[in-house]
Amino acid sequence: MIWVFTLLIMGAGLIALYSASYHNVRVSNEVFYDQQMFAVVGILIIYLLSRVDYRFFFDAAYIFYGLNVILLVLVLVAGRHALGATRWFTFAGISFQPSEPAKLALILVLARYFAGRRPSVSLNDKDFHGGLWQDLMVPLLITGVPMLLIFKQPDLGTSLLFFGICFIMLFTSGLEYKYLLGLSACCLTALPFAWHILKDYQKDRLLVFLNPNIDPMGAGYTIIQSKIAIGSGRFFGKGWLGGTQNQLNFLPERHTDFIFSVIGEEWGLLGTLAVVSFYFVLIYCGLKIAEQVKDKFGMQLAIGIVGILTLQATINIGMVLGLCPVVGLTLPLMSYGRSSFMIFVIMIGLLLSLSKRRTIF
């Protein structure tokens, strides 16, 4: 099942990407062929990983996390600066974003940590003594370090994603409700302060989200364009390569963040509901796996993967529909982006690996 829907998502992505790069002044068809190649490699990796015992990742978790933090520091110092952010390394002609593997690193480390603290999946362990420090603060710290480094790049969307993942994993780790509520309360009260840390353009994005017409020519423009594109697709869309908003090169980033708009315009409601359901089924399967895995590490890992998928997919689609502010999160496996694609491929592979072993080790 997972295989089927992953392939469907990748396929839809390639179709949309071809159209998005077809008459594009900013990128060439290269992105399509690039992504295509990555898809092929990706399928191979998924297959290979599905046969690997996920326990290997348990062992490597802390080292991987440590390496990743170093990379994140390095990228701030020595990384390539583009589009107002320092997110990439270029290395012998290949560029990659360390914030992507950081997602994987985080869930691995958190999963291992929670598994160590409270090995029982059912949370019915009477001998467990929770502690504020170990169960809440340490995970927050583990999340906080990469989150801050990513925030400094600056990459608001991904850093918030990190927090979201942490929250979900805390929830499923069995953290007492009182702590969860306390955490939520802290966040809410911190919002006004957080507002001041944001850069101007980030503030603009949030304001525009509330009312796109404030700035119809600037930041609000993208949202208006995106909605027009999607809405004009109606039921069956305008046909492949026939998207007018798409071909009129004013929908920016349509090969990355706004790839869903391309689907909306060219494949209509049929296409959009189809894609949404692909993700839904994939995620649902993931949740099922999480429920069935018997060891804590596996369960947390599955939840982590599902969490990232869900958050990114829903936020991206929400963004594109105007339901969420534009935060720059890409659509997993569909948006163009080598690092992101690779990491999601690895995560799917892990998910498959988890689905095969459902017994205690």
Binding site: M217, I230, S232, T244, Q245, L269, I303, I317, G318
Partner: protein, 570 residues
């Protein structure tokens, strides 16, 4: 249990998404669709003007002229026959050709296709007035780069063209895209980042007749920065005329500031060829032309300096103490090395350093060279900047070559005494560029202060100051005084090699050079020097590639300077 809660929340999220999709696409679909098809949205790009380039007196060297393209948007065309018939009539182009071009270049339904480019303003207005009769027709405005002085400024200015794929790769993070226009060669390339404008556009809503109904949004284009160069167009033109199409270079530089007042490499080309669609074929001719008109010989031509190098030898000899003002060598017309005779141009009899320079006596310098040894010569050549870039603000500058014993060893070869002799008179392996020679002259004139040759005066409002690494040579001023005498002698003395330049109103110091090339070809002709009289103190160099004896370079210099005097420029 908790996982169940997660599941429920996830389902909830997706339902929200699905609902919103249904809302936007099913219920509001018609409204959005309408916006995008019936009352249509068009994007008209607005070009960001490229910065203009002026000379030091405000004369326009490069500007943008408005040009009009006839474009057709396929989706909007109602009656193709009528449209093209009309166009054919007005534009005087065969209708079949127009249609063929249209079919060939059309891409997607909404991308405008340029069927005819660069029409004149009157025609554009006629078409614009009749636009309402022919939906789908749009007159697009853009800018074409215009070089009013044509060939005269070619190598300084460069030209513009569509970006090539290698550059896109390198520059895409700096805001360049596949469609960008970039500068090639010259100032256009070197300062492209400042010159280029940023594209903007308007998004308009049009009705089914293609008429603008509403302005939806506008992104203002940004103009590039205007640049002012140090070039004086009058000097540039005089130099161009003086060279009269022969292969060579004239460079004129202000002694004290390093500002380049004129730089001409001949033969040149007309940069307008690259901006004018109709002249596309001439591009190929330029590239295939064996005279290499696209080559900027002033910075890329690497030639043996010949006797001009003797000035460096003089400084080397005096500075190291190997020779003094009292040193005298006897010139019988040749220098014997083993079984070979190294020739001199005349029989000079006894010469001291001043006479050696003034009369350009090879034998004097053969002797000096032997005393110095190749390592010292190499050292002083490097000191004067040979073998290095002058860092002038033009792309792809060459560095020439200064031979040395070490270099020979690296090539598994030996250094012979004959090499030293050749080196001493600027022959053999040594190669220099004309701009390096100008810098040499200025350094000599200023007794060791090295100027930084540059072309840019101001960017926008900001004056541009370029600092260079080397400031002053560690050589005694007295040494330079002696060299000055020799260089003056070349002009002032009745036997001076450049006596043609002894003209009223000028105080010229310089050195001639006749550089041997290959036996089958003529020699290169050099004259390089500086002028101390008049309103501006300048260093200059006249170089004629395979131009024969230095006499010809001197003659060109004479013509050139006379023109400047007549026009009261200098």
């Amino acid at each position: 249990m908790r996982l169940k809660i997660v599941r429920i929340i996830t389902v909830f999220l997706f339902i929200v998404l699905a609902l919103d999709l249904i809302y936007i696409q099913a219920f509001q679909g018609r409204k959005y669709f309408g916006l995008s098809v019936n009352n249509r949205i068009r994007v008209i790009p607005l070009e960001g003007q490229r910065g203009r380039i002026f000379d030091r007196n405000g004369e326009v060297l490069v500007e943008n002229r408005l040009s009009f393209n006839v474009t057709v948007i396929p989706q909007d065309v109602r009656n193709q026959e009528a449209l093209f018939s009309f166009l054919s009539q007005v534009l005087n182009v065969d209708q079949k050709r127009l249609v063929a071009r249209f079919q060939q270049k059309r891409h997607t339904p909404f991308a405008p296709v340029a069927v005819v480019e660069d029409i004149d303003q009157r025609t554009a207005m006629i078409l614009e007035e009749n636009k309402f009769r022919f939906p789908g027709l749009y007159i697009q405005e853009n800018f074409r780069r215009w070089y009013p002085q044509g060939e005269v400024g070619a190598h300084v200015l460069g030209y513009v063209g569509k970006i090539d794929s290698a550059k896109v790769e390198k520059l895409k993070d700096y805001g360049y895209s596949q469609q960008s226009i970039v500068g090639y060669s010259g100032i256009e390339e070197y300062y492209d980042q400042y010159l280029k404008g940023v594209e903007g556009g308007v998004q308009i809503e049009v009705n089914s007749r293609g008429q603008q109904v509403r302005l939806l949004g506008i992104r203002e284009p940004e103009r590039g920065e205007d640049l002012q160069l140090t070039i004086d167009s009058r000097i540039q033109k005089a130099a161009y005329d003086a060279l009269a199409g022969s292969h060579g270079v004239i460079v004129v530089m202000d002694l004290d500031s390093g500002e380049i007042l004129g730089l001409v490499s001949s033969p040149g080309f007309d940069p307008n060829i690259f901006s004018d669609e109709k002249r596309g074929r001439e591009k190929g001719a330029l590239i295939l032309d064996s005279a290499a008109p696209l080559l900027n010989r002033a910075i890329k031509g690497q030639y043996p300096p010949g006797s001009v190098f003797k000035t460096v030898m003089a400084v080397a000899g005096l500075s190291t103490g190997k020779i003094t003002t009292k040193t005298s060598f006897h010139c019988p017309g040749f220098y014997q090395l083993g079984r070979r005779r190294f020739r001199c141009t005349h029989v000079h009899y006894d010469q001291n350093i001043v006479q050696g320079l003034g009369h350009s006596c090879n034998v004097f310098f053969y002797n000096t060279g032997v005393l110095l040894g190749p390592d010292n010569i190499h050292r002083y050549a490097q000191m004067f900047g040979f073998g290095e870039k002058t860092q002038i603000d033009l792309p792809a500058e060459e560095v020439g070559q200064v031979p040395s014993r070490a270099l020979r060893k690296k090539n598994n070869s030996d250094w012979y005494k004959g090499d030293t002799l050749n080196f001493s008179i600027g022959q053999g392996d040594i190669l220099v560029t004309p701009i390096q020679v100008v810098r040499l002259m200025a350094t000599l004139a200023r007794s060791g202060q090295v100027p930084q040759p540059h072309l840019l005066k101001t960017i926008g409002d900001q004056p541009f100051v370029k600092l260079s690494a080397v400031k002053a040579l560690k050589v005694d001023a007295a040494v330079f005084d002696i060299v000055h005498k020799g260089m003056r002698m070349a002009i002032a003395d009745e036997h001076g090699t450049a006596r043609l330049l002894d003209m009223k109103g000028f105080e010229i110091y310089g050195k001639t050079g006749t550089a041997q090339t290959v036996p089958t070809k003529d020699t290169h002709a050099w004259f390089a020097g500086y002028n101390l009289s008049g309103s501006k103190r300048v260093a200059f160099c006249v170089f004629l590639e395979y131009g024969g004896s230095s006499y010809y370079a001197v003659r060109v210099a004479q013509t050139f300077l006379k023109t400047l005097r007549e026009q009261n420029i200098l």
